[in-house]
Amino acid sequence: MEHQNIIISASPHLHDASSTQKVMRDVIIALTPALLVGVYLFGVGTLIITATAIISCVLFEYLIQKYWLRKPLSINDYSAVVTGLLLAFNLPSNLPIWMVVVGSLVAIGVAKMSFGGLGFNIFNPALIGRVFLLISFPVQMTSWPLPIVNRMQYADAITGATSLGMVKEASLMGEPLSQISNQLTTQMDLFMGITGGSIGEMSALALLIGGLYLLIRKVITWHIPVVFLLTMFAMSGIFWWVDPQQYLNPVFHLLAGGAILGAFYMATDMVTSPMTPKGMMVFAFGIGVITVLIRLFGAYPEGVSFAILIMNAFVPLINTYTKPKRFGEPIRAKIL
């Protein structure tokens, strides 16, 4: 007696109903508060840049899959939307549209699809797009529209330097920090996001709310953000303690620039981060150290993007040396 409708497959026969789409949707939800702050601060610029980045990322993924790779389409997984959103978050709100499109092409075409699409890329696609633009168009990529006053301006927005930019300039000129301290944004404004900078990195508060959501939804674990930020705090704290005249205090380091955005949304990208908690902590520690080194001693005022990309390259190596403890195997010291 056999039944036509009956299917057979190997166990397990249950699934917890999660899906890649739901994971990506959670990331999009988590990014929404910061996006709203971006709209509040930069108005039309935010809307134009974000829409351009998302549309072009999805479009490039679609075109490459359909006409070049001829693979089944996967734009339904929303991962291109997340890449577009994160790319926009890392751009100034007055960047010309064509540059946003170029950045999206590099992010999706070079950093993602050329490796084989979602899940196979080694580097964070949005950061590759951003760094490509930064190196190619350094002037446009570092002119930051002032917040609030530019809500209705896009291309002709009034720009200014960021706090980290001013600090870098001062240190290159050999001036002590006290000379520029009254020009720097206050820490409270940094926390709320009333400052110049990339669209999505402004408000630590909004980013932390989204980060908390990701933690609660178990999309990310605490290991990467906490270890990354603690490492940054400790390392910049040591320099500040040694010479507060030359170095910024650690709280300012955490709140300014892309530290929070990077810690919760970029470094935690599942595809390009290690697999075990142990590995994640090694990875995050590396990002923290490299970020502070670049901020204090590098040519660029901000180093989060470079730090994450550099550590992305180490992920396969980290995975090899931080395997989970097998059941029934004694805990033994492994080379880290």
Partner: protein, 435 residues
């Protein structure tokens, strides 16, 4: 804080629809199909002839070696065929077909409680062996072999597995409620056979009534502890249970006796009680027949060899939208296509899964979310193992401990990309064996 194992584990919806249902007797079927390979190890050897009359409990196939078990007739009747039929593996296997003489339907003969243990240790083991007792939790490992331990291995604790962590199944639960006193005697029998003084019953916290019952009947027996466990799958796995109750880790590739423990399922303990105290061979067992759309799901005493279509008829027939028929629980059970498949010693439940739940989502690329690693109770990297097997690298998979996988299915359950992780890992284990 309730005890549990620390590494990995999941919590699928419990769906214990039949947890308040008492065990009913399923009518004796007209014909039973008794496979001769119902246990792990060597198949039994048939000792009856065609057209031979057999009695209930008469041995019809004898143990084929050390790791084997004998099989007894579940009914009184005539051997009509010695044929091959499809069993739950999907393959045709040798089986003994017996037509029952019973003119009328009778309930299961309940034996009186007998607490005094007359047999000595050796006689107990012999009785367990000759009555064909195998592990009823699902693994069907011959119980006699498990108990016949090397005297050097220093067993100190007997663990009783009343965890039943599989969703839907309540066979062990209903048995614990119905036969608690008998199970307690069974525990004492095993303690006597093993010459040890300590037993722990592990029961998950979703079976409070069973926990209370055992606490109540064991309150004057200091040597039997009752431990409530946090609900977590796969806690019923031997290694996970030992970790949860005693915090001992069975070494990689090792067996429980290496850490001084023997684990038996409550169903097995009850079968041992009946074998040792009443000389009754293992010819029936409790089976849960359930499903969300099933009219009257329940727990049944079922004769070994009963076709599962009889079980499905007993719960009001198969719901229309049934897409999967499972022999066992939804996490580790086997999907069946043929309803003539007989109940064997290892059948703990028949679960009917409807449309929505039955189908797997399309497999997508791995997004390296690492959930498979975080739920693996054995500390493996399922994503990596699948990748290695896909690329035909069994040697590297072996170096990454593919063979220690207990096939609990937690990785496939949790994967947001619906990747068939366990399918590939099983295939990898096969490849490793062949090389």
């Amino acid at each position: 804080m309730l005890k549990t194992f620390k590494q990995g584990g999941i919590h699928p919806p419990e769906n214990k629809l039949t947890c308040t249902k008492p065990i009913r007797s399923l009518p004796v079927p007209q014909t039973v199909y008794v496979p001769i390979a119902q246990h792990i190890g060597i198949p039994s050897e048939i000792v009856v002839e065609l057209k031979q009359k057999v009695e209930v409990g008469q041995m019809i196939a004898q143990s084929g070696g050390y790791v084997s078990s004998s099989i007894h007739s579940p009914v009184a009747g005539t051997v009509t065929k010695l044929d091959k039929i499809i069993d739950s593996s999907g393959y045709k296997k040798q089986c003994i077909v017996i037509r029952s003489d019973a003119a009328e339907i009778t309930d299961r003969a309940e034996l009186p409680l007998k607490t005094e243990i007359e047999l000595d240790a050796e006689a107990i083991l012999n009785q367990i062996n000759s009555c064909g007792i195998v592990g009823l939790g699902g693994a069907t490992f011959p119980s006699f072999v498990k108990l016949h331990v090397d005297p050097k291995s220093k067993i100190d604790t007997l663990l009783i597995n009343g965890v039943e962590c599989e969703p839907y199944l309540t066979a062990d639960h209903s048995l614990m409620l119905a036969k608690a006193l008998e199970i307690k005697v069974g525990i004492n029998i095993l303690l006597k056979a093993l010459h040890i003084q300590k037993a722990i019953i592990g029961i998950e916290a979703n079976k409070q009534d069973a926990i209370q019952k055992f606490v109540e009947i064991c309150k004057n027996d200091a040597h039997i502890q009752v431990a409530a466990l946090q609900v977590k799958y796969p806690q019923g796995g031997e290694k996970q249970l030992i970790k949860a109750l005693l915090n001992r880790e069975v070494p990689k590739g090792g067996l429980p006796h290496q850490v001084g423990v023997i684990v038996h399922n409550v169903g097995t303990i009850f079968a041992i009680y009946e074998a040792v105290q009443h000389g009754k061979p293992l010819t029936d067992r409790v089976v849960t027949v359930t499903g969300k759309k099933v009219k009257d799901p329940g727990n049944f005493w079922v004769k070994i060899g009963t076709p599962i279509k009889d079980l499905i008829d007993a719960v009001g027939g198969m719901p229309e939208d049934t897409r999967k028929i499972l022999n066992g629980g939804p996490m580790m059970g086997k999907a069946l296509k043929n309803l003539d498949v007989p109940v064997t010693k290892g059948t703990s439940g028949i679960v009917l899964i409807s449309d929505v739940e039955a189908e797997r989502g399309p497999a997508m690329s791995c997004i390296k979310c690492a959930r498979c690693i975080s739920v693996c109770p054995m500390g493996l990297e399922p994503y990596l193992l699948m990748d290695l097997v896909e690329k035909n690298r069994p040697q590297i998979a072996l170096e990454n401990d593919v063979t220690t996988c207990i096939e609990c299915g937690s990785c496939s359950y949790i994967c947001p990309s619906h990747r068939p992780l366990l399918d590939y890992i099983r295939y990898g284990k096969d490849l490793v064996k062949k090389n």
